[in-house]
Symmetry: C2
Subunit: 391 residues, 2 copies
């Protein structure tokens, strides 16, 4: 076994210091004055919060050659040292484990994936462990310790206790994944639902920075949604939240796997589009790639299926916006590769169904390579490293 | 003019003291130990927070004859003195102003209403002023000062600046109502959207107490929804939130006044039910009362219209629950008078469309006499009195 740098706790113990650090981490570089303005803390409180973080090397005062303000105070902005600590993010898909090594700002430094042939938890655990070992070895070449590990899984996941209650895609029920992974890797481990993990990444390091309320809508194999309301990721009192895929929009629509009819997902997820194209065109299409190729070739039936998907997604987004009034909606997911085939319909359906001033809500798109799901998991590990109490 | 008791500020200045007071106000009577458990504050911090509140008479230590714990500490629970301060709540409807005088726990002590013949802001302001004077006179008979006033209006209302941006029902645009009312009454005035005001009343004094996340759905002339997520009432980044009435559920449904088709409100609000009954039965029904009488008489077409309304409301609630995962949904509003005609359909449609564990969300009903809307306005006044910074 390669020798491991010792784990160390994050040198922050007060809510004020956590606030200062997360503000600089997510919005920096920032001058101390600006940190004061954004956090509402006094200059003395900021000095007290910053000192141990500077001493431990988590914060730097960038020596960018700027002159002092003339008031005897350094004007060098505070910024995080991204290379001060590394984290590992893991995403478990239906057939492989994707892992990334990120720095403290969630920038991906290394990415790996290992396929698996069985979805049995013990097999997947072995693959996660092997991938983690690979990424730790890579981290050693940087000379930076890996502090902790995040794992993202689709389905009903309780982050607080690290339990995968139910993942239909993997066929798992009540798998204590955090305990299993931390036992095998000897790293502190956070387990979260994959869409929520991605939402944390957007909130801290992406298009959600600075937004009190926003929605992340993922399109592709399923239609998912992560919600941040009042600065907090919505988890749902019964473990269910953000199920935009199961907002009912058309009683005459196709049957959904949930048993209902006319859910957004039953019209707009990849399998629904594939099925619809098969029904309408008679072509033997079975995968999202084949469906996309047929539509790109100009086949009107195939294009119509994508247009219908876009319309359904637009109505689902309108439901989110009419209910929550988010500042913006970020559309992402592997389904974005087909975005040119349904973007117009998403926007048109949204604009028609958004109520009054809710139409002003900005819709923006973010391409999402598969590594990004693993990066989301790393973001949850970073978040827990900095704010251990916050699930 | 009758003499007025002088206004006084609330004797609380720290976040800890506010937390202690609101905990006792909304959940009391509570022992100091229990207050410590629920707030996470130390016994010393609670002592410090409680002293000025006891001195000023806002809190009482109930002398209920209970013995001490034997540890030298009084076991008498802390409770609010409801009669320590009074508040006025005003609801402006389409044809009258309803006003209530409440105590500090939002219990209604007096209720009055004055009809008006014109919806012009100046006329309505005069009626509000007259009603406020009546209620202050009533308060003087109790010998309790009125501290402030809340006004609830339907539509797009910005509580922070006290502005009614748009109230379609009243035909108002950009009326600075808080400024007008406080100028005329010399009372600090809060103006809020009526459904959000009712949500505050439920959160602080009703079925929402203790719930981190809940929804209040109002049925009747319109279909509204107030949302509390993470303990905060959702206001919407663009002034729109909780528009369950404009969640699109059926592309083949009737045209809505918002220009869209198949909104929940276009199927389930009173005017939609009346119109549907007229279309289906040919009966010259024009009011909600007539519609209800016809359905109660057993007319199948009329009963069918109510059943359809219940189905639409159930789907709208499912959208809320699938997206937000609230602990509970409170169904209220004047439309509850017809609840026996659509309760079953609400519950059936909700259960079918709720995703997975979201089905566990509790649906409960609260009758809502019209005075309750005015009580909601009083609750916003109480909230602002205690937490001036919180909009």
């Amino acid at each position: 076994m390669p020798s491991r740098p010792p784990l160390e706790p994050f040198p922050v113990s007060t809510p004020a210091a956590t606030l200062v650090f997360t503000t600089v981490l997510t919005q920096g570089p920032l001058s101390r004055v600006e940190v004061g303005r954004r956090t509402g803390l006094s200059s003395a409180a900021i000095t007290k919060a910053v000192r141990p973080l500077l001493d431990a090397g988590y914060l730097l005062e960038a020596a960018d050659g700027a002159k002092g303000t003339g008031l005897g105070r350094p004007a060098n902005p505070l910024q995080v040292d991204p290379g001060r600590a590394f984290f590992i993010g893991i995403k478990v898909t239906g057939d492989e484990v994707i892992g990334v090594l990120t720095d403290l700002t969630a920038r991906i430094r290394e990415a790996r994936h290992i396929p698996f042939t069985s979805r049995a938890p013990a097999v997947v655990l072995e693959v996660i462990t092997a991938l983690t070992a690979e990424l730790r070895t890579a981290a050693e070449e940087y000379g930076v310790p890996v502090q902790s590990l995040g794992v993202a899984v689709s389905g009903d996941v309780d982050r607080e206790v690290g339990m995968v209650h139910y993942s239909p895609f993997l066929g798992w029920r009540d798998v204590p994944l955090a305990e299993l992974v931390s036992g095998a890797t000897e790293l502190p481990t956070v387990v979260d639902n994959d869409v929520r993990a991605l939402t944390v990444a957007e909130q801290w390091f992406g298009a959600g920075v600075g937004a009190d309320t926003f929605a992340l809508v993922t399109v592709g194999a399923g239609i998912g949604c992560g919600l941040v309301v009042g600065g907090r990721v919505v988890a749902g009192a019964h473990g269910v939240a953000g199920e935009i895929g199961h907002v009912p929009i058309d009683p005459a629509g196709p049957l959904c796997h949930c048993g209902n009819s006319g859910c957004v997902e039953a019209i707009a997820a990849d399998p629904a589009i594939v099925r619809r194209i098969r029904e309408v065109t008679g072509e033997p299409v079975t995968t999202a790639e084949e469906a996309l190729a047929l539509a790109r070739s100009g086949h009107p039936g195939a294009r119509q299926a994508y247009a219908g998907a876009g319309h359904a997604i637009g109505l689902g987004i309108a439901a989110v916006v009419n209910l929550l009034g988010p500042e913006r909606v970020i559309i992402s997911g592997e389904g974005l590769t087909a975005y040119d085939l349904f973007e117009e319909q998403i926007r048109t359906a949204f604009a028609a169904a958004a109520f009054g001033a809710a139409k002003e809500c900005e819709l923006l798109t973010r391409p999402l390579p598969f590594d990004e799901w693993a990066r989301g998991a790393a973001a949850t590990a970073i978040q827990t490293f900095i704010e251990p109490g916050k699930a």
